[in-house]
């Protein structure tokens, strides 16, 4: 196969999936920012699932199911996409080569444990990472990964390995790419639709472990951790919440900053004061989440006694829950 290199612009992003989507659409001459993709794709969420354990701690999540942001945002925008999954590993690489030869950059779902260019501190078995392949030279593929500062290269064997990583949410060679993009898009109604979807997810679902109710439930549980599990385990449980909130791919504060940036942009596009106000409130709320994680991290130092009380941390969570409830109740009623 001949060498291929597309004129793909590598841009870092806060969240891998929204960033990849934004960069792919950008290649197809559809200028859309990362927060806009995240907002239209209704990516923001909260869920606390104590009956599911990941790395021996309850699962906390600050966003929707992986893959949904790409699916929802492209469908909403009227972009035609193709998504493939594979059983046969070789077939997956042949398909990748074929699409590259057609001149289309491809989004890939990969596991991060064996990703050679990834920062070592993030190399855990996380199978929902996304990146773009936009070229090939001999045996090496050119990769744009929104976490990493510069474009990277990865060998055929390594790429095969990360595309077929095993474990929970295994990617099974999943590849996706836009193939045709509409010339004109009326974005205003899509923004409103995205906002309403997120508002419903956050304040409309009558189930106590998700949305604003989920944040309050987590706060209630957190007060009991020390008594129930002792210092060490409480600290680990708290750490797990914070890792989900602040670690790679959230852009900080569990996607609250990125969502606020979306509201800001939405307020300008729609010339809507209510949304612009909500953007500011979301920013203040995101800063509270950040306080929560900075203060909470003091309880997560090795062999240290907890420095901050879990009650105080839970109070910050309740404060965030109140703020988000107010914001999303207001947003669920917006009219153009």
């Amino acid at each position: 196969m001949t060498n291929i290199k597309m004129d793909f612009e590598h841009r870092q992003a806060g969240h891998c999936e929204s960033g990849v989507t934004s960069n792919l659409l950008n290649y197809h001459k559809l200028k859309i920012s990362e927060p806009m993709v995240f907002g239209i794709g209704a990516g923001l969420f909260f869920s606390y699932l104590p009956f599911l354990k990941m790395q021996n701690a309850p699962v906390t999540s600050f966003r929707v199911w992986p893959g949904m942001v790409f699916d929802r945002s492209t469908r909403s925008l009227g972009v035609k996409t193709k998504i493939h999954k594979f059983k046969d590993q070789k077939a997956s690489m042949e398909m990748l080569d074929k699409v590259l030869a057609d001149g289309l950059p491809v989004g890939l779902q990969v596991g991060t444990f064996h990703l050679p260019f990834f920062p070592p501190e993030y190399r855990m078995h996380y199978n929902m990472h996304n990146m773009v392949v936009y070229g090939k030279e001999g045996d090496m593929y050119m990769v744009s990964d929104t976490v990493v500062e510069k474009p990277a290269l990865i060998s055929y064997d390594d790429l095969l390995r990360v595309r077929f990583a095993k474990g929970p949410f295994s990617p099974a060679g999943r590849m996706y790419y836009p193939c045709s993009v509409p010339h004109t898009i009326e974005i205003q109604p899509l923004i409103v639709k995205g906002i309403k979807k997120t508002a419903y997810n956050m304040v409309g679902i009558p189930f106590s472990l998700v949305g604003v109710k989920g944040i309050r439930y987590l706060a209630g549980r957190m007060r009991k951790w020390q008594k129930l599990y002792g210092d060490e385990k409480a600290s680990y449980y708290l750490g797990q919440v914070l890792r989900m909130e602040e670690e790679v791919g959230t852009a900080g504060a569990g996607f609250r900053f990125i969502y606020g940036a979306f509201l800001k942009e939405a307020g300008i596009v729609l010339k809507h004061d209510g949304i612009s106000e909500a953007a500011i409130e979301m920013g203040i709320n995101a800063n509270r989440w950040r306080d929560f994680s900075y203060l909470g991290s003091r309880n997560c130092k090795k062999r240290a006694k907890p420095e901050e009380s879990y009650d105080m941390l839970a109070d910050i969570l309740l404060d965030c829950a109140d703020k988000e409830e107010k914001i999303f109740k207001k947003l669920s009623g917006i009219k153009l």
Partner: protein, 140 residues
């Protein structure tokens, strides 16, 4: 007991704290409440967040040390150590090898490990990215 008012408790940024990880700069979003503006900045992960990343690696390291002792005492096979080193658990290793979970569990015992044939040893070695010699005599 009176709780401190969460409204007043704020986290000060701690730039003076030492960073643990400086391999890669990432993009983060921020909100300036005075200017009411969002901005994107490229930088290292905040020191407070690096603490929580390190916490999970500390837990990994502690577990790895425990398993190492068990391997040295002859209670577990080297596969158990390599599994831990690769942050895997039995179900994941079973998926990678194609063995049943209970077969993998058998290989974690020294007795089961010694019965392994060359082909199976090779399979494990490839997954852990080591030679079969290294697999049999791990360098802790």
């Amino acid at each position: 007991m009176k709780q401190p008012d969460p409204q007043n408790k704020q986290a000060e940024p701690g730039p003076d704290q030492e960073l643990i990880y400086t391999n890669n700069r990432e993009l983060f979003y921020h909100f300036d409440p005075e200017k009411k503006e969002y901005e994107q900045r490229v930088g290292y992960q905040h020191s407070a967040n690096q603490v929580i990343i390190k916490q999970s690696w500390d837990v990994v390291e502690e577990r790895l040390n425990e398993v190492k002792e068990q391997v040295i005492r002859g209670e577990l096979s080297p596969i158990a150590w390599y599994m831990e080193k690769n942050l895997m658990e039995v179900p994941m290793l079973a998926e990678y090898t194609g063995f049943w979970k209970r077969t993998v569990r058998k290989h974690l015992t020294p007795k089961g490990f010694h019965k392994l044939d060359g082909k199976s040893l090779n399979k494990y070695a490839t997954i852990f990215n080591v030679s079969t010699h290294q697999l049999q005599t791990p360098e802790f």
